[in-house]
């Protein structure tokens, strides 16, 4: 199965159905990365799954896992001709260290290079096309024999990736396998340390995400690790992650003027903004400020003229500002992931314990089915981007029940007459 060339081109008939994919993700929901990878390489389809590695800053984890499963597994590497010498050196280091015997270099078509990038500077004028001929085309050609491929993508890496599953279908219905989907930076670090894996030589000098030399810059402390890629350009993903058929999917337009604030039954213009780096801390009006910054400067803010807002992240302890709630006209509680339910407790404490009666908004990963919970915990405005949830809100079709088994102390829930004890109706 490891021999890609012997296999015929991937036949659509063997494609997974959507439901099979669902089942697959369910099966592996709680399994570790090694099991996902082993299953992908050994059992997933009758067609081999390709292992592609960038030999970048965090490639060592998957490479180490591959070596454990089968050191003779073919590993594809896109030799774009634009790599840092350190990257090529790193390929050799890893081959030796892990005993990988079958790293295959995929190179751009020489006639394409001659035609479109004779001087080797296409990256400057048209990086999408450069990526296309140096990455997408060669990979696309190589992957013809495969039923899919493995990526090292992780949910945390960029915002677009918040819901990355272990297995996905591409637009031509091949399978993409993301064994590290649920990993975060700490997991990677811990794994590297545990197995004593050598870092990419550039990693320690500030390159957290490494691609071709011309398109990679250093990442500053606290920045998204991938922000060093194509810095200053409207490009966050390499085309190969979207679609191997060569059409680079358009990233969603950023900063469009969609109204995202839902309040009093409709989407409305938002009067508020978040504190910007260059804001002075005086006379802030309709500005949300980060929790820690508020704590640090609360005394200076006593005489602030204007409506002050506060951002509460999961992990921020609202008891610390409990006595100050009257200073805020609005508090925004963040839900970076819908599964993180800390914001519900924060909201109830703000409302019920500390008597906050300004606008309490929920922001972040909010889906239809949470809306009722959020309201019951005291939120009265929501910032929502998820399409189906927006539709449901606009059509007043929020999933929910009309009777509740426990009180939450909000006045939208009135005691149901003589009904005993806890129960409430809407």
């Amino acid at each position: 199965m490891a021999n890609a060339n012997a296999a015929q081109a991937f036949v659509p008939k063997e494609r997974l159905s959507d439901l099979q994919l669902v089942a697959l993700n369910g099966m592996f929901d709680e399994r570790d990365a090694l099991s996902v990878l082993r299953f992908a390489l050994e059992e997933l389809t009758s067609h081999p799954i390709a292992m592609v590695s960038s030999f970048g800053a965090d490639s060592s984890v998957l490479l180490h896992m591959v070596a454990q499963i089968n050191p003779h597994q073919e590993v594809l590497f896109l030799e774009t001709g634009k790599h840092f010498p350190e990257t090529l050196e790193y390929v050799e280091t890893m081959k030796q260290r892990l005993g990988l015997t079958n790293v295959r270099f995929l190179e751009p078509d020489t006639s394409d290079l001659a035609r479109f990038d004779p001087k080797g500077d296409l990256w400057q004028t048209d990086p999408d096309s450069c990526c296309h001929i140096r990455k997408t085309e060669p990979l696309d050609a190589a992957l013809k024999a495969y039923g899919g491929w493995v990526t090292g993508r992780k949910r945390f890496q960029t915002n677009d990736r918040g819901v990355l599953p272990h297995f996905e279908l591409t637009s031509d219905e091949r399978i993409k396998v993301n064994p590290l989907a649920y990993w975060d930076f700490e997991d990677v670090k811990a794994y590297r340390a545990e197995h004593d894996l050598p870092p990419h030589p550039l990693f320690n000098v500030g390159y957290l995400s490494i691609g071709c030399a011309p398109c990679t810059s250093m990442v500053k402390e606290g920045e998204d690790p991938r922000s060093g890629r194509w810095r200053g350009r409207d490009k966050t993903e390499c085309g190969i992650h979207f679609d191997v058929s060569g059409k680079i999917a358009k990233p969603q337009a950023k900063g469009q003027s969609m109204k995202t604030l839902f309040k009093d039954g409709q989407f409305v213009e938002d009067q508020w903004r978040d504190l910007a780096d260059d804001d002075a801390l005086i006379d802030l009006d309709h500005v949300f400020m980060p929790f820690s910054l508020y704590i640090e400067h609360k005394d200076r803010l006593v005489g602030n003229n204007g409506a002050l807002g506060l951002i509460v992240q999961p992990g921020d302890d609202v008891h610390e500002i409990g006595d100050d709630v009257h200073r805020f006209a609005a508090i925004a509680v963040e839900f970076p992931k819908f599964a993180d339910g800390r914001g519900y407790s924060s909201a109830r404490l703000l409302r019920e314990r500390y008597g906050f009666d300004g606008e309490l908004r929920a922001r972040g990963d909010i889906l239809t089915d949470q809306v009722q919970f959020l309201r019951r915990c005291g939120f009265d405005s929501l910032v929502v981007v998820d399409g189906p949830t927006r539709n449901a809100l606009e059509n007043d079709a929020i999933a929910g029940v009309s009777v509740f088994m426990q009180p939450t102390g909000r006045d939208i829930e009135v005691p149901a007459g003589t009904r005993p004890f806890l129960r409430r109706v809407k």
Binding site: D340, Y344, S346, R353, F373, P388
Partner: protein, 547 residues
């Protein structure tokens, strides 16, 4: 038992409709799996190796005959003719089709059942003693309080996205048959100054880091219980770890923070919540309790088993009488355990015909009541002693008359590699091999709890087996690690690992060696295995196993 009123009925109906709609959206492709997963999990729908699995809640393990008939009907109509009773005192269907799920849920709702909160990171179905309301050693019947906790925790808006799942167990008896010290919160009835209240334990659990719960408060009165639970849950929701799902249970929070500090935080929160909306009024407790009033027992029921003669003639029946009856609080009555561990069968499985027959037994002989035990058996809680023999005969007919409750073949085993996506190794065939090997000698061994899990998640409770068996994987082969000395009762203990794993074929031999040590060295036939182990220590057992 508790009966839905219009309020409960409306709640379940709406929730069922809501989930049915979500399933339809999923089947139609309008929801992605990522959007669907949390929804289906909150509604008891898992994905596993072969198919979806639907978990149906059996609140505190109590069923009536109508409900049991419905479970049988669902097994017959939508599954492959059987259901699987689990250690969570509920029932699981292993083969429902996704498009049938809404229909199944509608059918369940007809008999006041549902699958809400049987999975997902929320407060799960509350579990309790399978003999609640019947046991002779009860300080208080825990079911009214269990019902109140069920209501309070249903779709709790603040606690539906906890760091991890949350399990509460409650017992009102002196002997703990609900393993409360191995739950996130365990409640044990306690008497203080002539009043009954609750000892509260927190942070127990099995899984990859087994822990015995710590006492956080030795007496919480009924009226404050919900406020106290809400305080614990709030502290956990805000401070439980979310960075690593293996460290997200409250046991890790308690372990890492220390019980003293957790107690301080909980008490501070409780001080604010106390005497608020959650205060449980006595009349509400009384009202709920009426649902659980004792059935109309015959005061003059004969207090001897009418079957002595028969038992002499029939060794199987004698064994049944010895093992499967549990002392009832009412003279003339007893509780019967129906073992779902017939030798050679899948532990916990019952066919549709068996379920129907058991429902009829409950209706005729046990005031229409049935229980599911966390040891994966069924119980007829209130049976006249004079009816035992008739019931036995009927159980023989359906192949469920095994008199092995608490014996070596009464094994808890998780689904393992046969059904579970997470498994390292098979559990069910191992249970079957053990039962076959020792069935004819099991009486000699007396009480002996063997528990098997196919992986470290410990669904089979192996940590608390007198003998525990854990499937591990090494270089692609299934191996089994053996532990000795675990105990799920009030003397809670986690078993000691004896040494390296053995292969599946070797497991029965390994057990034989352990049992030989016990038989040779026990003080007398009345010293159970666990006591002997505690007296002897692990050395002789280790020696026997690994030389």
């Amino acid at each position: 038992m508790y009966r839905y009123d219009e309020f409960d009925a409306a709640f379940v109906r709406e929730r069922t409709e809501q989930f049915s709609d979500q399933v339809k959206r999923r089947v139609a492709g309008e929801l992605t799996e990522d959007q669907f997963r949390p929804l289906r999990l909150m509604n008891g729908l898992y994905l596993q190796l072969h198919a979806y699995m639907l978990r149906v809640a059996v609140p505190y393990g109590t069923l009536n005959s109508r409900q049991m008939h419905k479970l049988a009907h669902i097994a017959r109509t939508y599954d492959r003719g059987y259901g699987h009773f689990t250690t969570r005192q509920n029932i699981q269907y292993n083969w429902p089709k996704l498009q049938d799920v809404p229909k199944i849920l509608e059918e369940l709702a007809e008999v006041e059942m549902h699958a809400i909160q049987t999975s997902g990171n929320c407060i799960r179905n509350v579990t309790t003693d399978q003999f609640a309301g019947a046991a002779h050693d009860e300080i208080i019947d825990p079911r009214p309080v269990a019902e109140i906790i069920r209501q309070w925790s249903s779709l709790h808006p603040e606690f539906s996205f906890l760091p991890r799942k949350f399990k509460i167990a409650i017992t009102g008896a002196q002997q703990d048959r609900a393993a409360v010290k191995f739950h996130d919160i365990g409640l044990m009835a306690n008497e203080k100054d002539g009043q009954v209240g609750w000892r509260v334990f927190v942070g127990g659990g099995l899984g990859r880091t087994p822990m015995v719960a710590k006492e956080i408060n030795d007496f919480v009165p009924h009226e404050d219980l919900l406020a106290y639970l809400e305080a614990i849950l709030r502290v956990y929701n805000l401070h439980g770890r979310r960075d690593n799902k293996y460290k997200a249970r409250i046991k890790i929070l308690v372990h890492e923070t220390g019980i003293e500090q957790i107690r301080e935080e909980v008490e501070a929160e409780f001080a604010q919540l106390k005497d608020g909306v959650l205060t449980l009024p006595q009349d509400e407790l009384d009202r709920i309790s009426t649902y659980f009033a004792a059935p109309p027992f015959a005061a003059d029921a004969d207090d001897v088993l009418d079957a002595e003669q028969h038992a002499l003639e029939n060794a199987q029946y004698a064994k049944f009488l010895k093992r499967n009856l549990f002392k009832h609080r009412q003279p003339g009555y007893t509780s019967i355990t129906i073992s779902l561990k017939s030798v050679g069968e899948v532990p916990g499985d019952a066919s549709d015909a068996q379920m129907d027959a058991i429902a009829e037994l409950a209706r005729e002989f046990s005031f229409d009541e049935l229980r599911v035990s966390h040891e994966q058996n069924l119980v007829l809680p209130h049976v006249k002693k004079s009816d035992v023999r008739a019931i036995y005969e009927r159980l023989v007919e359906i192949g469920l008359a095994e008199g092995n409750a608490g014996l070596i073949s009464d094994i808890i085993a998780c689904p393992g590699l046969d059904y579970c996506a997470l498994a390292n190794a098979r559990s069910i065939p191992i249970a079957q091999d053990i039962a076959k090997r020792f069935a004819d000698r099991e009486n000699e061994f007396g009480e002996l709890k063997v528990k098997i899990s196919g992986c470290i998640n410990a669904c089979g409770h192996h940590h608390v087996g007198h003998i525990g068996i854990l499937g591990v994987e090494k270089k692609g082969t299934e191996l089994y690690q053996i532990t000795v000395g675990g105990d799920a009762t009030e003397q809670a203990a986690v078993g000691n690992i004896l040494g390296r794993g053995v292969t599946g074929d070797e497991v029965p031999d390994a057990l034989e060696k352990l049992l030989n040590v016990y038989m040779d060295q026990r003080e007398n036939a009345d010293e159970p295995f666990l006591d002997a182990f505690r007296r002897l220590g692990e050395a002789p057992f280790k020696e026997a196993l690994y030389g």
